[in-house]
Each structure stands twice: as C-alpha cells, then as structure tokens.
C-alpha cells in the first residue's frame, strides 16, 4: 500500500481510536475541576435522596458524536453506599464505586478497582451521569454480592472494548456489571450458568460492522471481534437499564445533567 496512505490512516486512526476509548482510570482532565467536584457530589446526593444503597452509574468519556448509534455512555460501574475510612482515620458516609478498569500498562487486560465519584467523573468529556437505581431487593443482593467479594469471582481480566456478553471469552466494564447483576439475581457465580441466563433473557446492543471498526481492530490491541459471530453484540448502559426495567427490577433509570436536569429513560 502506498506509504502516504498508510501514514494518513495511522494519523486519522490515532484520533478515531479515542472514539472507541474503553474503560480507564485517568488523571487526564478535560473540564473545570471545581465543576467536576460539584457534579460528582450532585450525583451522590441524587442517589442518596432516593435511598439508594447500590446503583448503576455511567459516564461519557468520548465525544457523543463519535459514539455508535444508540450508545450514550462509555464506562459503567456499580456504586455502593459505604462507610469510607479516610487517610486521617476519620470515617464518613458516601458512595464507593466498583469498576472494571483497563490496565494502564496493557489495555488487553483489566482489573477491578474502587474509586469515588470525583475520580469516576474526572476524565469525563461531559458532566452527564447515567443512573439506574434497582429495586430495594436487588440493591440488597448487589450489596451482599460485593460484601462477600463474589463480584471478584466474576471478573475476566481479558479485555475487549466490544466484548460479547453471551460468552466468557472477553469482558468489558459493562458486561462485568451485567454479570454482577445477574450473579446477584440468580445467586450464583457459575459463569456458564450466568451466560446461559444472559442468552435467554438479555437483549444486547448490536454494533454494525464498519470500515472504521475494521481498521480500529487492526491497530488497537483492546478491540477484537474474535468472540463474536457474524453479528456483533455488546452490553451498554441502556441495555442494562432496559433489562432491569423489563423485569421490574429498577425504580429509576435516568440521566442527570450538570444543571440538575433529570431525564427519565423509563
């Protein structure tokens, strides 16, 4: 191939790859830090006002114009109301967020890490939060799952940006949260059983194959379609919200904006 074309592809894909950014914990800041702090606290207070002991939280880390159609957020995790011990020894109440984050050294792998709302929204491109508050009964099961560390048994460190939720080959942040939810519902960490249940009851988001996706797969280590068939399906914040809604397992399914506007997705 002409060297000039190769260079153009590499340069343009360097930007395109940001559009397919996965789940990373980052120090890179795009917004005013005080606004991030205020918004993070607003999200906590919203969930607290609903009495949420555990809720699903999502952020936007990529320009919305770059996202595939139907995808509104790029990273999803579960927030749990906790007693937080501070470095000075004092303890306070707030939400701790349990995330699947890609490893900084090798994006093909991931780890489960706990952070807090300001960390979660630090690298966001827009101050907008996706929030799903499960029913009290499911909240309780989620909390028990995490207290017993069963959520760690559900982690597959082999990361793929568009992992297939119907098998165990790879896992991204949103699929991980779905697995934690289902493990809580079905009271099992048997991955085969969980995937069978997912296949039977969960409707994933179809991502259409495109030239951009094909070229992204050539250059991005964390983007593969090996775990998919002819069609690509992945988990999203919206598909999780719809899944819980359709099974009468959620009370709130909303988007909270930085000006306090709540958009109901139910």
């Amino acid at each position: 191939m002409n060297i000039l074309i190769k260079i153009v592809i590499l340069v343009l894909l360097a930007n395109t790859s940001d559009a397919l950014a996965g789940s990373r914990s980052t120090n890179k800041l795009f917004l005013d830090p005080e606004e991030v702090v205020k918004f993070s606290k607003d999200v906590e207070k919203y969930a607290a006002s609903k009495g949420a002991r555990a809720f699903i939280i999502s952020r936007l880390g990529t320009p919305k114009s770059e996202l595939p159609k139907g995808i509104h957020f790029t990273h999803t995790a579960v927030a749990v109301y906790s007693t937080i011990q501070l470095s000075g020894g004092k303890s306070v109440q707030g939400y701790a967020i349990h995330n699947l984050y890609q490893d900084g050294e090798d994006s093909k792998f991931s780890s489960i890490l706990v952070d807090y709302p300001v960390d979660f929204f630090w690298g966001a491109l827009e101050l907008k939060a996706g929030i799903i508050i499960p029913t009290p009964e499911l909240q309780q099961l989620l909390v028990e799952n995490i207290v017993s560390s069963k959520h760690l048994d559900l982690h597959n460190p082999n990361y793929s940006l568009l992992s297939n939720p119907f098998n165990n080959q790879f896992q991204n942040c949103t699929e991980y949260i779905l697995d934690v939810i289902n493990a809580s519902i079905y009271q099992t960490t048997d991955k085969q059983q969980l995937k069978a249940n997912t296949q039977a009851h969960f409707k994933a988001k179809r991502i259409k194959r495109s030239l951009k996706l094909l070229l992204g797969r050539i250059l991005k280590d964390d983007l593969t379609a090996k775990d998919h068939g002819r069609k690509i399906y992945t988990t999203t914040f919206t598909t999780i919200g719809e899944y819980l809604q359709n099974n009468n397992l959620s009370n709130d399914f909303i988007v909270l904006d930085k000006d306090g506007t709540v958009t109901d997705l139910m």
């Binding site: 940001d18 559009a19 993070s40 007693t83 011990q85 109440q93």
Partner: protein, 110 residues
Amino acid sequence: MKSIKLTFALIVLFSSSISLANSGASENISAASKYSVLSVSHGIKASGQVVSGVVAVPLIIVGQVGSVSLEAGETLMKNAIGSEELVITELTITADPAPQRVMQNTVDEK
C-alpha cells in the same frame, strides 16, 4: 494520482472521527496527581475539603451475609433498604493512585 484521490477519500471519510479528546481544560497532568490539582484549585482548596479515601466498607443493615432466613430476611430488607434519604459527606474523596504509579511519580519528580 490514484493514491492522492484515495488519500483524499480517506481524509473525508474519517474527518468526523477527529476526537475532541485533546482540547480539554487541562492536558495530561503527568506527574502531578489528581489530588494535587484538586488541592490547588482555588475554590476547593479554600474549603479544605479534599481527602483521600483509604478503604470503603458497604453499609449493610441486615445480619451476617448468608445467615438470614427467608422470612426474617424479607422483613429486615424492608426495614433496611427503603426510600429514606441517606447522609452523604460534603468532603471530596479521591482514591490515591496505585502504588506503582505513586512510586513512578516519586522517581520522575526527583
């Protein structure tokens, strides 16, 4: 000529892919931690409200995990988790970076 046309087509095709990810208010902090940025921010610094969280323990009101009978569990769940508003600290809590990153930042700063 064919190569130039193809190159131009690719530029047009991917022109919408140019990410805004590099046009933020603050570029890669590199050695400076998030905590440092928060600490020097005028409004946040003035309030003295930035702290590091060491460990977070989920609050669970019901008895020991696995030890609650179904009947008792239903009653306890209704009492434990409802819609009553929860207390949230006004402090800004942030997690420290992983030890490897902290050590690397220490080495870089030296």
